[in-house]
Symmetry: C2
Subunit: 342 residues, 2 copies
DNA sequence: CGGGTTTTCGGAATCGTTTCCGAAAAATTT
DNA sequence: AAATTTTTCGGAAACGATTCCGAAAACCCG
């Protein structure tokens, strides 16, 4: 049943040529006449020959696979990123091995340390925990690496291509909130060092931060938003705006506020980050910052694949995208309608 | 810099043993004394030796990789499925190659036809288009396959493990809607043959279907829901309930109804399928049917890995999970509060 | 048609493992 | 201590491709 396993030699024998010639036929190689090529190709079809990938890889030292290590495929913008990477890879004849690190420091280190065992030609990693020893491991990985970076200032000696935002997400949000006249601005996020820059922008934008207006939850989930809303609502003096670390938290906030009878945006304006599809579904629709997930991911993949193809070593690129603020109902009341900042 | 590439022979030489012995040390092989093993392991550490996966695969004929082919990683429950598969695979020392078929018939056929080129030991496929020739290709794939199946009745001669729902999602929804006294029940989905069974259940539950109450959109997106709401709203005689093919469509419906001033659930009850996390965020919260995505995926992975490990051939399993209806505000008004059906 | 180029082709080595099988060493028995 | 059994180890042959290099065939042109 399971066809006995036909090798390049079988093809050569049946076609009456040498194995070298068959190999040339497979790989569109030079130095082979059109007629013999078609004859061989036909025999290949006939015998159902499929080149053994392992043997090819062993000889050529390329696997046509890259690994993509993300925190959790189920969260927020990660599916967009995974999709963009897969599309780019496919366009270059590459496949993608998915790895979830769970935003776990050990897992992130492990994937980089053991990358050689992974049978891949390169790695795209989106670190969350970003343990201190990660850069060091990346530098000695021995395999091309692209880093998709959100919210962390990276050491520029890193031997990897880096694609990130210009770190202005936070500033965009804060500027907007101040511009619409809010003064008691709160922050809702996870631990401050997880997506560091989002929080730091908050501090930078204020003369002094009121510790009671900062809520740190456990994760990026809707629940964190819900809890944050409860917390802020319980305050003697409520904030008049909340800058949420991402859209999930923002949506959680808005929904809970609604349940508590707090009017958004009249009493409290809420702005998130990510600009995922749910921002337009939530009611009120959520103002948010587009962080260009697909574009970032696509570029990270392109850089990696180029590096692999051309065997570039050193000469690392660092590309920054510009985030864009999209104003919706959660920060500007319906009357003024939605508008888009370019 | 890039350590010259150290092979098993280097290790053997340095450790003063034969390569066969080193191999045994790596693979916890039999017939090797504890002391030589530890000595070799130490040398391996010292030299930074990493076994070449391609060479191993070439010899052993196993790649420790499986492929996961899904319509689109960005949609609905697919991230959950991808996550569950990756977890199960990791637990068995396997890696997962992600493939998006875009629900495209050609892509689905292609991945099965070319599975041998993919350097994997098995395939988990979640077909959407399900072209007629797919079963045939699956049967002659020559590689173990698990099928994650939603909404299609499969030919039982399929030579693959199948994990699916008991096809009762639709009936659960319809029973519920009828039980709460709705009589003009509409359906909102994609083309009827995409997730066939969800629609067929609709037909089955009614004495006769009123064609004007059936809306087919282009996809499973929020937009489809929005458009469906517009459509139903424009009808001379509106439905008093809508059964949506999935939660995205349900949420789109509910939101648009709200904008149009149609009260949910008082005027129109809406029930979706998937029970994703947004059902509890939407307002009103969406009644939905849990389709056990993670469990289904995990089992599909386990069956596949078992088949690979034990080299089972034939003797295919077909496992059905029972969907569960979860009643929320979009079908039962707030007064009666939310309740859960077990 | 003969000498010189250019194309086309095949043999054999190689990539880095695993594993069979026989030999050496150690352990056990007599 | 010799004989026998059991453990431990090493050499060498695969696994299935790619590719270098030399030889044969085809082509060119006066």
């Amino acid at each position: 049943m399971a066809s006995k396993k036909v090798t390049i030699e079988d093809v050569a024998r049946h076609a009456g040529v040498g194995i070298a010639t068959v190999s040339r036929a497979i790989n569109n190689g030079e130095g082979i006449s059109a007629k013999t090529r078609t004859r061989i190709l036909q025999k290949i079809e006939e015998l159902g020959f499929v080149p053994n990938t392992s043997a090819q890889s062993l000889k050529v030292r390329l696997t046509n696979q890259i690994a993509l290590a993300v925190p959790d495929i189920r969260n927020a913008i990660i599916p967009d990123i995974a999709w963009a990477v897969e599309q780019a890879a496919k366009a270059h004849g590459y496949r993608v091995v998915q790895i979830n690190t769970a935003g776990n420091a050990r897992a992130e280190l492990e994937v980089v340390r053991d990358i050689k065992k992974l049978h891949v030609d390169g790695l795209i990693i989106m670190p969350l925990a970003y343990p201190k020893t990660l850069p060091e491991l990346i530098n000695k990985a021995g395999v091309p690496i692209s880093v998709i970076n959100y919210g962390k200032q990276l050491d520029s000696t890193l031997q990897a291509d880096i694609v990130c935002l210009s770190m202005l997400e936070g500033q965009l949000v804060m500027d907007h909130l101040k511009q619409i006249g809010r003064s008691r601005i709160a922050y809702a996020g996870t631990q401050k060092d997880v997506i560091e820059d989002r929080y730091l922008a908050y501090e930078r934008a204020l003369d002094r931060v009121d510790a009671s207006l900062v809520y740190f939850g456990d994760d990026f989930s809707l629940q964190t938003g819900t809890r944050a809303a409860d917390y802020f609502h319980g305050l003697a003096h409520m904030p008049d705006a909340v800058y949420a670390v991402n859209d999930m938290v923002a949506i959680g906030l808005v929904n809970r506020f609604k349940e508590l009878g707090v009017r958004v945006p009249e009493e409290v304006a809420v702005v998130g980050v990510d600009n995922n599809q749910w921002t337009t579904i939530s009611s009120p629709q959520i103002s948010s910052v587009s962080i260009m997930g697909s574009e970032v991911a696509r570029l990270a993949a392109e850089l990696l694949l180029k590096r692999i193809r051309d065997q570039i070593i050193g000469d690392y690129e660092k590309v920054q995208f510009e985030p864009r603020l999209i104003v919706r109902e959660s920060s500007v009341s319906l009357k003024r309608s939605a508008m888009h900042d370019a």
